[in-house]
């Protein structure tokens, strides 16, 4: 399959290793990636809260860019997923907004039709065919690694429109990452308040980094209580919050038991044979040695 890749702003600049991971795993799973000159999605916690219409129009422009190529799009960030999907939905439903956006886009010579699908990476990889290929082609197993997931609020709420999962009908959370991790041989562990927000936006928007870290600490506490050895995320903002977050927290509380955080793309690429250097795993603030414990090529 051919699909355009929406990296978002953060990954290419701040975490290029994750982009490298994506470009490593894609061809090995039969996915051809197309690059498009996307702009900032824009962030659902940034511009949307400041000027809704500007956010909507810019998001529609991004959607046009992939539609012009006739390609579906896959995102690496829960925030980008929400922006693109919600925009798609609003333009389909709300006449006034649609007319406003169409008017703007027409002046750029663009027209939005809403004909393509928007995938978030984990749900793309969890598709039956691709998952089967993953199981077949992986060269490393994550067996013995106790890993938990954190999806990122913007991906799975509101749960009424969530198409991923639910893992447990009594507690609606997606299960695409769990399926991937199990396919990689890892042991998936649940923890309390798994659906709680990471708190990144509190720092990014309001600049309240202290308070933001307290939310991250709450999450880490429950992860530790459940015995997690690693955390898989699907969003760079959540990643920063937990990775850099734990570094900052452990400076204040040296006794804090930290656990490495990975973007799901990194884990999949690693299992498909990517080396630590290829993935630039050394850029992680919390050392990813736990991964080495499971598959000892990471020192």
């Amino acid at each position: 399959m051919k699909i355009s890749i929406f990296t978002g702003c953060v990954i290419p600049i701040k975490y290029p290793g994750m982009e490298a991971a994506m470009r490593f795993l894609a061809p090995r799973l039969g996915i051809e990636l197309a690059d498009v000159k996307f702009g900032c999605c824009p962030a659902p916690i940034g511009l949307k809260a400041v000027h809704f219409d500007a956010w909507l129009a810019l998001a529609a422009r991004n959607l046009c860019l992939t539609e012009e190529k006739g390609l579906d799009v896959v995102t690496l960030c829960s925030g980008c997923t929400n922006t693109l999907r919600e925009t798609n939905h609003i333009l389909a439903q709300d006449e006034k907004k649609r007319l406003f956006v169409h008017d703007l886009l027409r002046r750029l010579g663009k027209e939005y039709q809403g004909s393509m699908k928007i995938f978030h990476l984990p749900e793309l990889l969890a598709q039956e065919e691709i998952l089967a290929r993953l199981k077949e082609r992986r060269v490393r197993s994550l067996a013995g690694l106790k890993v938990g997931t954190h999806y990122g609020c913007h991906y799975f709420r509101p749960t009424a429109s969530m198409t991923d999962g639910p893992r447990d009908p009594l507690f609606p959370l997606p299960d695409s990452m769990e399926l991937i991790l199990e396919a990689l041989g890892a042991q998936v562990v649940e923890y309390n308040r798994q659906d709680l927000c990471c708190g990144a936006a509190l720092s990014i928007n309001a600049g309240k980094s202290e308070e933001s870290l307290r939310i991250a600490l709450e999450k880490i506490g429950w992860m530790n209580e459940a015995g997690l050895e690693a955390l898989a995320v699907a969003c760079p903002a959540c990643f920063t919050q937990f990775d850099t977050g734990q570094l900052l927290l452990s400076r204040r509380e040296p006794a804090l038991r930290t656990l490495p955080v990975f973007h799901i793309a990194e884990l999949v690429a690693y299992a498909l044979g990517a080396e630590a250097e290829t993935l630039n795993l050394k850029s992680h603030k919390i050392s990813p040695t736990a991964l080495g414990a499971a598959a000892p090529t990471v020192g």
Binding site: L170, F171, N192
Partner: protein, 831 residues
């Protein structure tokens, strides 16, 4: 005039010339302030057949009614038209006036010039007056054709059916039986008792629930006039008040009624499963008694759990243990039918499944339980012998939290308040304090509803006993490894967040209509409220009647309520049912269908559309009406293409005369609307009561049901040059005559297609479903139609006049031809 001649005229007024009296009511300023009543009366006086026309201040008053009576006697009136308020208001009043004057009550016609005219056209006095004149003209046209009718009396069986054996059903059954009627009490569970049998103590008295219920249960079980059918479900109800035909299915019990409930069988049964009565907190065997005080006290076998199947016998331990030899594996489900005169529906409630609120971790965290599970635990006869314990480690909790409104007051779950949960929690907290005073109890609430007698006192006692009430429900429950629960939320009164750890959390779950009620609803064509409970005929004045005559409601089937209110309602329902049965007969309104066997071709179209199966083809292949089953909706009459069916008091001729009357002038500026008596006419009345203003172009013709509106009426209207026609009725699913309005829809679609095929604008015909509360919707429809009306070009109107005029001529020619044909040929079915 001499007495004899007058009497003759009154006895057969249809033979004599109509002598119509028209009374135009001012209704104070309600009508008089907008409509020029004098002018309307003057207009009426010039109409054919009108011998007297006057206007009065308050026609419904004593003097007003007396005048009518006097005029009937002195002026020899044999028809009366009252132009005033809605007939839904005063038709019964004026009908009685006519009766008192010796005139048949069906010779009254009312023109609605208040709700449908003066109140909705407050600022258009001229147009309103013209409209009032039209409405009166229509009424006079109908009045000319009215005939005296006799109402039939049908006998009422002296037997009642009570569906549901909870405390409400039991009470209703006992009251009816004590009043001397036979009662059949049907209960789908193996024992009567319902929810009340499961509770421990009642509020506010703190009585032991089963202790006060069990004697009533026993009484119901042995009452000479009550036939108790447990493990039985209603499968079908047909018929009508006084004569309901009921079919039930008895599920196989596999144990004979001479069981002495010794219990030896259960002791040896190898199979076990969670038991329903204890809400899964304890087990029972495959052969079991639902609970100790069960009535009937007969064991039963759950064949799904039993090792034996209907054809295979592998285990006979119970048979061996049974001294009385009452185990019957060859028992089978059986059907039974019987007839009753009245029905009381007391199907009760189930509780909300708290798993629908994932943030409270029900079924994921062991120590989160529901209020019903708590009742079973705290009950001395329950699975823990009355000890409150944590499911995770069987220890008694030192701290307990109650969370209110779980599954109530929420558009996500149930929008209504479940009435009993606040008091139930207060009672529960007092029970805990009574036994384990050191327990810390916190109640998280949105409101505390302690509205009843003695309730406020109990609330105070709880606070006095140290129960803490915190306003602000937890956002979520976090289960801890030791089984404790952390509750996070905001205590709004203290403007502070809380993070409380407790050892046991109890979810105060809401009540929802019992699952069995859906079937019952369909058979009895009962309406539901938005919450899913059965709707009563009038929420204030007829709180236990349903709109189906002879069917009453009692207990939580009508809405969540406590024991006292359930019992009160049950006695009320029994009394109401008793009123019908006591007189031994009910009167059927004289609006039923009559078939002319000469004209009937036996095509059977009427049979297909009758919602009550009240019309059928007899041996002579002619349609025949079962008078007592006929509700008078008129759907058959509209369906009949051969003019063989007359709808009494709402005949084709009367309706066509009304159409002709108002199209005498300026039909091109008018909208004809057909409104059904129960919903859309009431909706238009409601618009009037609420003084909603809408355009004056519309003239409403009332039928009992929108199913009465035949395509030929609409065609006549268009043939007479009416600009637009509106058909309105009840919402699909809410039709007072079950599903008659589905035929309305079908005919509407056909007419639209006809308009289109004839090259006319189909938008000139509109359909709208309007409920009795949707005055706004009716108003909006009229406004939209008027917008369209002013754009209709005269050529279009001429076209349709020609088109439909031609069709009518064709139809009349065919009818004449048919009438002229020799008798034998008429029996052939037309293509």
């Amino acid at each position: 005039m001499s007495g004899d001649k007058q009497d003759l005229e009154r006895q057969e007024p249809s033979a004599a010339e109509p002598r119509i009296g028209v009374y135009v009511c001012h209704c104070g300023l309600n009508i008089g302030g907008t409509v020029d009543c004098e002018a309307v009366a003057l207009h009426a006086s010039k109409l054919e057949g009108v011998v007297l026309a006057e206007h009065q201040l308050y026609t419904c008053s004593e003097p007003g009614q007396e005048k009518i009576k006097r005029d009937i006697a002195e002026a020899g009136l044999n028809r009366v038209v009252v132009a005033a308020c809605s007939p839904r208001m005063h038709e019964p009043t004026f009908r009685k006036t006519l009766e008192a004057a010796g005139l048949n009550q069906y010779l009254l016609e009312m023109a609605n010039i208040r709700e449908h005219c003066s109140w909705v056209h407050l600022h258009e006095k001229e147009a309103a007056t013209e409209k009032a004149k039209d409405l009166v003209r229509m009424s006079v046209a109908r009045a000319r054709l009215l005939e005296p009718q006799e109402e039939a009396d049908i006998p009422v069986l002296q037997r009642a059916l009570v569906i549901g054996g909870g405390v409400a059903g039991i009470q209703a059954a006992l009251d009816l039986a004590d009043s001397g009627y036979e009662v059949i009490l049907v209960e789908k569970e193996p024992s009567i008792g319902g929810r009340m049998a499961q509770i421990d103590k009642t509020f506010p008295t703190m009585d032991c629930s089963i202790c006060i219920l069990a004697p009533k249960m026993a009484e119901a079980g042995r009452h000479p006039r009550i036939k108790l059918m447990s493990l039985t479900e209603v499968t079908r109800v047909s018929g009508y008040v006084g004569n309901f035909n009921v079919s039930v299915r008895h599920r196989a019990r596999y144990v004979a009624s001479d069981c002495s409930s010794c219990g030896e069988c259960a002791k040896v049964c190898p199979q076990h499963a969670p038991n329903e009565f204890d809400v899964g907190l304890a087990t029972r065997s495959a052969i079991y008694l639902p609970f100790a005080q069960a009535v009937p006290a007969t064991y039963l076998i759950d064949l799904n759990l039993c090792l034996n199947k209907s054809t295979v016998r592998v285990c006979e331990k119970c048979v061996a243990a049974c001294e009385r030899k009452c185990i019957r594996f060859d028992d089978r489900d059986s059907e039974e039918s019987f007839e009753v005169g009245t029905i009381v529906v007391a199907t009760g409630v189930d509780v909300f499944d708290a798993a629908e609120m994932p943030q409270y971790q029900y079924r994921r965290a062991a120590n989160v339980i529901t209020s019903l599970e708590f009742e079973r635990m705290i009950n001395a006869g329950g699975p823990t012998g009355g000890h409150l314990i944590r499911p995770s480690d069987q220890r008694g909790p030192r701290s307990v939290a109650f969370i209110q409104c779980v599954g109530s007051r929420s558009s996500r779950t149930n929008p209504y308040c479940s009435n009993v949960c606040c008091m139930n929690t207060i009672k529960d907290s007092l029970l805990i304090k009574e036994h384990w005073p050191e327990t810390e109890i916190t109640v998280f609430y949105i409101d505390i509803r302690a509205f009843g007698k003695g309730f406020e006192d109990l609330f105070q006692r709880a606070k006095q006993a140290g129960v803490r009430f915190i306003h602000g429900l937890p956002g979520e429950i976090i289960p801890l490894a030791n089984g404790n629960l952390r509750l996070l939320g905001e205590s709004t009164l203290l403007a502070k967040l809380y993070d409380l750890e407790v050892e046991l959390a109890i979810l105060s779950v809401g009540l929802k209509p019992s699952t069995g009620s859906e079937l019952v609803r369909r058979f009895l064509t009962l309406s539901l409220t938005s919450g899913g409970f059965f709707m009563v005929a009038h929420p204030k004045l007829r709180p236990v009647d349903t709109s189906t005559r002879g069917v009453f409601l009692a207990g939580c089937a009508e809405g969540p309520k406590d024991i006292k209110d359930s019992v009160t309602q049950a006695s009320a329902a029994a009394a109401r049912a008793g009123i019908i049965m006591r007189s031994g007969k009910v009167t059927v309104e004289a609006i039923t269908a009559r078939v002319d066997p000469e004209a009937c071709t036996g095509c059977g179209a009427c049979v297909k559309v009758c919602p009550y199966q009240a019309i059928h083809l007899n041996e002579a292949k002619k349609a025949e009406v079962i008078e007592a089953a006929c509700a008078g909706c008129g759907t058959c009459g509209a369906e009949c293409g051969f003019g063989a069916i007359t709808m009494r008091h709402f005949t084709d001729e009367q309706i066509l005369a009304q159409i002709d009357a108002f199209t005498e002038y300026e039909s091109d500026r008018k909208i004809l609307a057909f409104n059904c008596n129960w919903c859309s006419y009431a909706g238009a009345d409601f618009a009037g009561v609420s003084r909603m203003q809408y355009p004056t172009e519309v003239r409403i013709i009332r039928t009992m049901c929108s199913g009465r509106v035949a395509t030929r009426f609409v065609e006549r209207a268009f043939a007479r040059g009416v600009a637009m026609v509106l058909i309105s009725g009840c919402h699909i699913g809410d039709c007072h005559y079950i599903d008659a309005n589905t035929h309305t829809e079908r005919r509407y679609q056909r007419l639209r297609r006809l308009l289109e095929s004839g090259g006319m604008d189909p938008e000139r015909l509109q359909l709208v479903w309007v409920s009795a509360a949707e005055g706004q919707r009716f108003k909006e429809k009229i406004m939209a139609m008027r917008k369209k009306l002013v754009t209709i070009d005269p050529e279009e109107l001429k076209r349709s006049m020609r088109f439909f005029g031609d069709r009518e001529k064709e139809r009349e020619a065919k009818a004449r031809e048919r009438a002229a044909r020799p008798r034998a040929e008429k029996l052939a079915v037309e293509a």
